[in-house]
């Protein structure tokens, strides 16, 4: 959890400044020495949060100093973002939440590609199908500012793949290895790249294997092991000075993943992700940076309960999600306008089934389609204009989607008709988003203010799920194809103050969500899962309101010492002022870092106050306050001409046994954990 400060650390590198432009990592070191204000031409406003990850093969220096734990999982990186919280069902495949909203209200993309998990129980969020080694940075757009990635309510998260680029640097290689004491996690990784002026290829391979972890006080958490390997290849070819082709491919496979908070584990979670893109500098002499990408991804997810000692009934629950999509984007600037245009589309096929084996061998196996082969076709247009006014900057954007979903499987359609006799196999939805953001700098202060509107269709589970068991509240969930679109009107504001080495920001947002989709108990229905308390049907609440507040600050005592901290508050209620589930209590983080002569050290703490807003109707109970302390040291050496980097640290120093509000069924988090990372770069 203390890794939670990556985001702030990254800001030292200039990472937290607004926009994407800053993330071009040339002159990285130079940027690192400067404040945000100087290294970009745009106003230093946190439009989007960006977490830098790249191991930086791009230039010849390692930049591990600033990373508390270089080989941490992508989930840990995400958790370091200021606005992201991670729902944990075990040690693997955490589910990101942004602004108090999770998967179905977010657009999560990999390099702009839409991907949808194949698990009906959200055990495989999109982020579980990549490894941190694949990525260069993560862009986070809050609310409708994330609409460029797809239609969303809570925001968008885009995971950018790490591409070598046309560097003319020949061959390079890097070996990584890491060990963590708590769960015997071994990480082995290698990267190799080749680049010249017309061609590049970079590839990385990572293998992670972990045993069960131990919570504080040496409490072993059974079924929290995992094993994962991931291969990624990126390549580019310059057709001429104006045009280039690039391709990327990821094969990600995890096996034997334990989910201690759930009644089932996963024997296989596999993602195959590929894309081909064409880029051209100019189009029709007016448009710039034209990029067109075709992509596909293929997800297979197999739940497994055969390792569990006691199950009321053994069941197989495989799921598949295949997506084919494209996007084409370009920019156009004239006068004070700076347009971004994007057309995108995808076709997704989601299918999941469940076979149960009765304890009485004379009874036949039981079978149902939990996702009845839903085909979703979505075509969207996104336009954004960034207008530089004399006194401020105005950003307006809009997104329009047409979406059609189709229940392809006849058995599945008939199953749904048990609940909704009148439904058709196909339905179309029209989705829209508008956003206006205003920014103004005034001396050491800067202000931003925004308002937006967006809607979303129900997710596959919300629309078509059939007896999906949720262990959090112990209910079976049934989808509702007749749900209305969920509509969000949001307001956001931010005040920043920066003076020499001191920076602080206060930001907040408010979402008023009409027809908020959530499961509501229907006592007339009988649960399917043995031991479940009942059935919840996805229903539109009249409205919900979610507020997020965040205060962060940093201070550089001198060239080597730096302090940073943040405090956040969240509140979510429905129309009757009843609490929404999974809303954060007040959280805080703080850290002091030291960086000198290739040596780095870090002490951090993070915690939360006692949860006072929770709702037992959704299976929640009160989460206690906690404070966790962690520390790390790192040192870079040179061996011959190669870089050698060692980093070691300890997390949860006092071995606290605690769980947070996002821990499924209060499963305790990891206890004291020592880690060691070794990296060796071959030039």
């Amino acid at each position: 959890m203390h890794k939670a400060l990556y985001g702030l650390l990254a800001s030292r590198k200039g990472a937290l400044c607004s926009g994407i432009a800053v993330c071009l990592l040339f002159n990285f070191k130079l940027i690192a020495q400067q404040t945000e204000h100087k290294d970009t031409l745009i106003l230093p406003i946190n439009l989007e949060e960006v977490i830098l990850i790249s191991k930086n093969l791009k230039n010849n220096t390692l930049n591990y100093q600033s990373e508390v734990k270089p080989l941490s999982s992508l989930d840990e990186y995400l958790e370091s973002a200021k606005k992201i919280n991670m729902i944990k069902r075990g040690a693997y495949a955490w589910e990101p939440m942004l602004n108090g909203m999770s998967s179905e209200r977010l657009a999560v993309t990999i390099d702009g590609m839409r991907i949808f998990g194949a698990c009906t129980d959200k055990m495989d969020p999109v982020t579980s199908y990549v490894d941190v080694s694949n990525l260069s940075k993560i862009e986070i757009g809050s609310g409708q500012q994330g609409a460029v990635y797809g239609n969303t309510i809570g925001g968008g998260i885009n995971l950018n793949l790490d591409k070598e680029g046309f560097k003319n640097q020949g061959w390079k290689g890097l070996f990584d290895s890491g060990f963590e004491s708590n769960n015997n996690l071994y990480v082995l990784g290698g990267k190799a790249s080749y680049s010249n002026n017309e061609f590049f290829i970079n590839t990385d391979l990572v293998y992670r294997i972990a045993d069960d972890y131990k919570a504080g006080d040496a409490e072993e958490i059974p079924f929290s092991q995992y094993e994962k390997y991931n291969l990624a290849i990126n390549s580019g070819y310059k057709l001429n000075e104006q045009q280039q082709l690039s391709a990327s491919f990821i094969y990600d496979e995890a096996r034997d993943i334990g989910y201690p908070a759930l009644p089932m584990d996963v024997s296989l979670a596999r993602g195959i992700i590929g894309s081909l893109s064409f880029q051209q500098d100019l189009l029709f002499n007016r448009l710039s940076d034209w990029e067109t990408k075709l992509y596909f991804n293929n997800i297979k997810h197999v739940m497994d309960d055969t390792q569990r000692p006691e199950v009321p009934i053994h069941m197989d629950m495989p799921g598949w999600s295949n997506t084919y999509g494209f996007y084409s984007s370009a920019g156009m600037g004239f006068d004070s306008h700076n347009f971004t245009f994007k057309v995108d589309g995808y076709y997704n096929k989601s299918l999941a089934e469940m076979t149960m084996y009765p304890n009485n061998p004379n009874e036949d196996t039981m079978f149902m389609l939990t996702w009845p082969d839903i085909r979703t076709l979505d075509i969207g247009i996104f336009v954004k204009d960034q207008i530089e006014l004399e006194w401020s900057r105005l950003i307006v954007s809009t997104r329009i989607d047409i979406q059609n979903s189709n229940v392809k499987d006849e058995i599945g359609l008939n199953s749904l008709k048990i609940f909704y006799p009148e439904i058709e196999d196909s339905q179309a939805r029209f989705l829209k988003s508008f956003s206006i953001q205003l920014h103004k700098a005034l001396g050491n202060f800067h202000f931003s203010l925004g308002s937006s509107y967006g809607d979303r269709p129900p997710s596959v589970s919300e629309g078509y799920g059939f007896y999906l068991y949720n262990s959090f509240d112990n209910y079976d969930y049934v989808g509702n194809p007749e749900l209305k679109n969920e509509k969000s009107t949001a307001f956001n504001g931010k005040i920043g103050f920066e003076k020499s080495s001191f920076k602080t920001h206060l930001e907040g947002n408010y979402f008023l969500i009409k027809d908020y989709i959530i499961g509501v108990p229907d006592t007339s229905l009988s649960p399917m899962t043995i031991g479940a308390d009942g059935i919840k049907v996805y229903t539109s609440l009249e409205s919900a309101r979610i507020t997020n507040l965040l205060l962060d600050a940093s201070y550089e005592f001198n060239k080597v010492f730096k302090w940073s901290g943040l405090i956040s508050y969240q509140r979510g209620v429905d129309q009757d002022n009843e609490n929404l589930p999974l809303i954060s209590p007040i959280q805080y983080r703080g850290q002091i870092t030291f960086n000198q002569h290739k040596f780095s050290a870090n002490v951090s703490c993070n915690g939360a106050v006692k949860q006072s807003h929770y709702n037992s109707l959704y299976g929640e109970d009160q989460t206690n306050a906690y404070t966790i302390l962690s520390a790390s040291v790192g040192k870079q050496f040179y061996i011959a001409n190669d870089d050698f980097y060692v980093k070691a640290g300890v997390e949860n120093i006092f071995d606290a046994n605690y769980s947070t509000y996002t821990d499924w069924k209060n499963i305790p988090r990891m206890g004291r954990n020592f880690f060691l990372t070794l990296s060796y770069t071959i030039q």
């Binding site: 469940m354 304890n359 009485n360 196996t365």
Partner: protein, 283 residues
């Protein structure tokens, strides 16, 4: 390439022509009235042979929908426009009794007759069913009786309930077989009152309440079922049975009279997992 094209053309022509010729023939084809049915038994004497067909492969306990043809052994012709009646009898060691049955009606084809019989029990070595068929051709009456073999279904699922109601009457309640899927299914049953050992009368205007459960899933139930109500025209009880998944289901039953008084059957609760009358099935 050219060859492939030719072959392809030839293929298409063949298919088209074949399709045309077969559709030309259709009107002249005689529809086999017992196509898709199985000959389950033949009852015969020297003169006549009665073929009994069913969708199943033999006589089963429960509701049997049967199709009949009477063949004149001499002329090899099927008898038309006969009036036919039947009497199934169970020969038990101590006594004899009959079972619920429908009238036999002539179908659109005058040589083909239809009806159903509800066998309450299987035969065994000592106890057996006989079927007597009486028919009249041109004013002349014939009767043939023969033993038949009635078996239980392989899974021994209960498809017929014989019970004494709270009104002290004896009833026979049988499920009408139908194709059941994961969906809301049409579901039917027949209900008879046993007037005496040989006479069963149709019970009208009762309600048969259904509560489908999966005992293997902690008595999981399904929504949107409709109780079976009497259809005066078909004399059947019809309702809707919804099944949320494949597997073994127990359809718990309650029989209510027109005053909504329970004649037989119990409510399913956490304590009472099953009714005393039910149908078993597996899809």
């Amino acid at each position: 390439m050219k060859n492939i094209k030719n072959i392809f053309t030839a293929l298409i022509l063949t298919i088209t022509l074949t399709a045309c010729s077969s559709s030309d023939d259709t009107p002249e084809e005689i529809i086999d009235p017992v196509a898709n049915l199985n000959l389950v038994d033949v009852i015969e004497d020297d003169l006549y042979q009665i073929e009994i067909y069913s969708a199943t492969d033999q006589f089963y306990v429960g509701y049997n929908e049967l199709t009949m043809r009477i063949k004149n052994k001499n002329s090899e012709d099927y008898v038309e426009n006969a009036s036919v009646n039947w009497t199934p009898v169970m020969h038990m060691t101590e006594m004899q009794h009959s079972c619920p049955k429908s009238q036999i009606t002539e179908t659109e084809i005058s040589s083909v007759f239809k009806g159903f019989i509800v066998f309450q029990m299987p035969g065994n070595i000592e106890e057996y069913w006989s079927l007597k068929v009486d028919f009249e051709i041109n004013g002349e009456a014939y009767s043939i009786t023969q033993n038949i073999n009635v078996v239980n279904n392989e899974d021994e699922y209960r498809v017929v309930n014989v019970f004494k109601g709270n009104d002290e009457s004896k009833y026979v309640l049988a499920m009408v077989p139908s194709e059941l899927n994961v969906s809301i299914n049409d579901f039917g049953a027949v209900l008879y009152k046993m007037e005496n050992m040989m006479t069963f009368s149709i019970v009208e205007n009762y309600t048969i309440a259904i509560d489908p459960r999966m005992p293997g899933m902690d008595n999981h139930s399904s929504p949107n079922n409709e109780n079976l109500t009497f259809n005066a025209k078909s004399k059947l009880y019809n309702g809707k049975l919804s099944l949320t998944m494949t597997g073994y289901w127990k359809v718990n039953l309650k029989v209510l009279n027109p005053n909504n008084e329970i004649i037989k059957g119990e409510e399913i609760t956490d304590e009472n997992k099953a009714s005393s009358i039910y149908f078993d099935l597996s899809i």
